[in-house]
């Protein structure tokens, strides 16, 4: 039965060489599989037709499976621990030809997650089925592999201004890899975030914003693009720990244990990190003897990756200053503090929103301030007292003068009469 199935595959794989056809004599059999030590079942079936049409068809089986000794094959007794460990080990095969892509992937957040032991983190074969790779298949909305893991984000994207355009056939409209890169995918909030990706297409964005947005560069520095261009999204302020020496995000191992133990302490988790706790945390991170001093830099962003993809047409973007520059603005109701962990993945903790309005935070978050929105409450109290004092004290003095004068005049009048 297996031989018949093999012959079928053999016959249809006309463009494959004799060697490949020899492999497919067995591996072309539907249902060919191997039991692994983990208890999983690994399919060994290869569709000869699909493989022949794939870009890898040209290099043949031995292009990747050069470790197989045809004289000793099948090595039915060779032990494979599990599907995942086998796939992770096999990425080195891809590296042989795709060294550039591998290098990019190796520095990506995906590779960092793999190193961290995340069983769902993508490796080469997660996105590229090795025996069925078709050129351009990753660049189409229907077949882009990212949505396999990021389905909810892809749904938001598909409904966004970018997704709608792409779906209607505008190939200049971005797909996942246009902004995030195909292999060197970084943490979207790291560094300048994805602003440079936005500017890649929207080259006149800065000039266009300068025509109406005061302190444009500053806004671009501390406000992410989706914070305004995804108008229905909920926003939050992320206070990111920065290295004052390198002017980059403070990252592992600098202060991570200290940061995690304080910002993630039971008390901080229970009631949120308050201004005093933040002050103490920064003091501890910058205690004497620590070479690299750190500070917090604020960034206004949307709360989730899904919301970051709900980009609306520019006419619907937030352009009313009062949206953020007023007390109680939605943008300042959620606060987190974070630092870059392994692979740049943020280690993030919730904080109390009062951090943004506290006199205690003047030094802790000296670099983040939105007029009106994050004003210091204590200064409001001082202003009221100054107004009361500035008007009240002269009013009291004037009233007293008039009262005394009236009393004196009346007394004099009586004395004259008397």
């Amino acid at each position: 039965m297996a031989a018949v199935a093999g012959m079928t595959a053999f016959a249809s794989a006309g463009t494959l060489s004799k060697d490949e056809q020899q492999c497919l004599a067995c591996h072309g059999s539907a249902g060919m599989e191997k039991q692994l030590a983990s208890g999983e079942t690994l399919s060994l079936h290869i569709s000869g037709d699909t493989f022949a049409k794939s870009v890898h068809g040209a290099i043949g089986c031995a292009g990747c499976h050069s470790d197989i000794d045809p004289t000793g094959h099948p090595a039915a007794n060779s032990s494979i621990g599990g599907k995942r460990s086998f796939s992770v080990a096999r990425v080195q095969v891809c590296r042989g030809c795709h060294s550039e892509q591998f290098k990019e992937w190796d520095q990506s957040v995906h590779a960092a997650l793999v190193s961290g032991g995340n069983p769902a983190a993508p490796i080469c074969t997660s996105c590229h089925s090795p025996h069925a790779v078709i050129k351009g298949s990753s660049a189409a909305m229907d077949t882009v592999p990212c949505k396999a893991c990021h389905g909810d984000i892809f749904t938001a994207y598909a409904a966004s201004v970018h997704g709608v355009l792409r779906g209607s056939g505008v190939t200049q409209a971005p797909l996942c890899f246009s902004c995030h890169g195909a292999h060197g995918v970084r943490v979207p909030t790291a560094g300048a975030g994805l602003k440079n990706a936005c500017f890649g297409c929207h080259t006149t964005a800065l000039a266009a914003h300068r025509t109406w947005l005061p302190n444009t560069e500053l806004h671009f520095d501390v406000v992410s693009c989706p914070a305004c261009h995804a108008p229905k999204a909920q926003r939050r302020v992320d206070l990111v720990l920065y290295n004052n020496t390198t002017h980059k995000e403070a990252s592992e191992p600098l202060g991570v244990p200290e940061f995690a133990s304080r910002a993630g302490s039971p008390a901080a988790r229970r009631r949120g990190l308050d201004p005093a706790m933040l002050f103490t945390l920064l003091q501890a991170l910058n205690r004497s003897g620590i070479e690299d001093k750190t500070s917090f830099k604020g960034r206004l962003d949307v709360r989730t990756g899904v919301e970051a993809h709900e980009l609306a047409p520019s006419a619907e973007a937030i352009s009313d200053c009062n949206t953020c520059h007023r007390a109680g603005a939605d943008a300042f109701q959620s606060v987190t503090i974070s630092m870059a962990g392994p692979g740049g993945i943020p280690i993030r903790y919730g904080a109390r929103k009062e951090i943004l309005n506290s006199a205690f935070s003047i030094n802790s978050i000296g670099g983040f301030y939105a007029i009106g929105g994050t004003r210091i409450t204590f200064l409001d109290v001082l202003l009221v007292l100054a107004l009361l004092g500035g008007i009240g004290a002269p009013a009291v003095h004037l009233t007293a003068r008039l009262a005394v004068r009236r009393y004196t005049n009346r007394t004099r009048h009586k004395q004259r009469k008397g």
Partner: protein
């Protein structure tokens, strides 16, 4: 009764334009800080107005500075270096405002063209003109273009620190301006000092007339 030419034209021009600019800066500053609570004009417009008024204030301060640097009237800003005398005269002035004025006692301070401020007044003006106003102008310029002055802002501790200093001085001015106006009414008649600040001439029972002084 003599007329003393107390306030030369540049001082009067500076004073009244300064008064208008400062009041407008306070009003626009309050709207900028309390957007949503006060909405006299659109936010962008009020920010632009505040910036322009700030530059006018700086230019106006140079009128004041250039006049006094090129005139012997600068003596009016010379500090009293004898602390005992300064303390005694200040106490005497405060006692007058707190007690003597109610008994219609004469003001212990008699102004002259080179000594037109009483001791507490002189100290207040020196504090405002030589310390607070320059700091307010510098912090205002930094806040006007935070990107251009990013390094200076970082040097001072960040935008929140710079803004806090700017607001604290603004609060001092909010307290000072009505107080200053009220103290201006404490002449022999409520309008005496106001008129003098328009005409330049103060009336005095002592000293000689300086009608032709300038």
């Amino acid at each position: 009764m003599h007329r003393i030419y107390m306030h030369p034209l540049p001082v009067r021009v500076w004073h009244w334009s300064n008064a208008v600019i400062c009041v407008m800066l306070c009003l626009t500053g309050i709207q900028i800080r309390y957007v949503g609570l006060i909405n006299l004009m659109p936010f962008r417009m009020v920010v632009a107005a505040h910036n322009w008024l700030g530059f006018l204030l700086i230019a106006n301060t140079f009128i004041w500075l250039l006049f006094y640097l090129s005139s012997d009237r600068i003596r009016t800003y010379h500090s009293e270096l004898n602390p005992i005398k300064l303390f005694r005269e200040s106490v005497r002035q405060f006692v007058y405002y707190g007690y003597g004025i109610f008994k219609e006692a004469p003001n212990p301070f008699v102004a002259s063209i080179y000594r037109k401020f009483n001791p507490p007044q002189s100290m207040t003006y020196q504090l405002i003109m030589l310390i607070l106003l320059p700091i307010q102008c510098v912090t205002g310029i930094l806040l006007w273009d935070l990107t251009r002055y990013a390094r200076a802002v970082a040097f001072f501790g960040g935008v929140r620190v710079v803004d806090t200093v700017h607001v604290l001085i603004f609060i001092v001015f909010v307290f000072y301006i009505p107080f200053h106006a009220y103290l201006g009414t404490l002449g022999r008649t409520p309008m005496e000092h106001f008129k003098a600040m328009f005409t330049g001439y103060e009336e005095s029972d002592e000293g000689e007339s300086t009608d032709k002084a300038e």
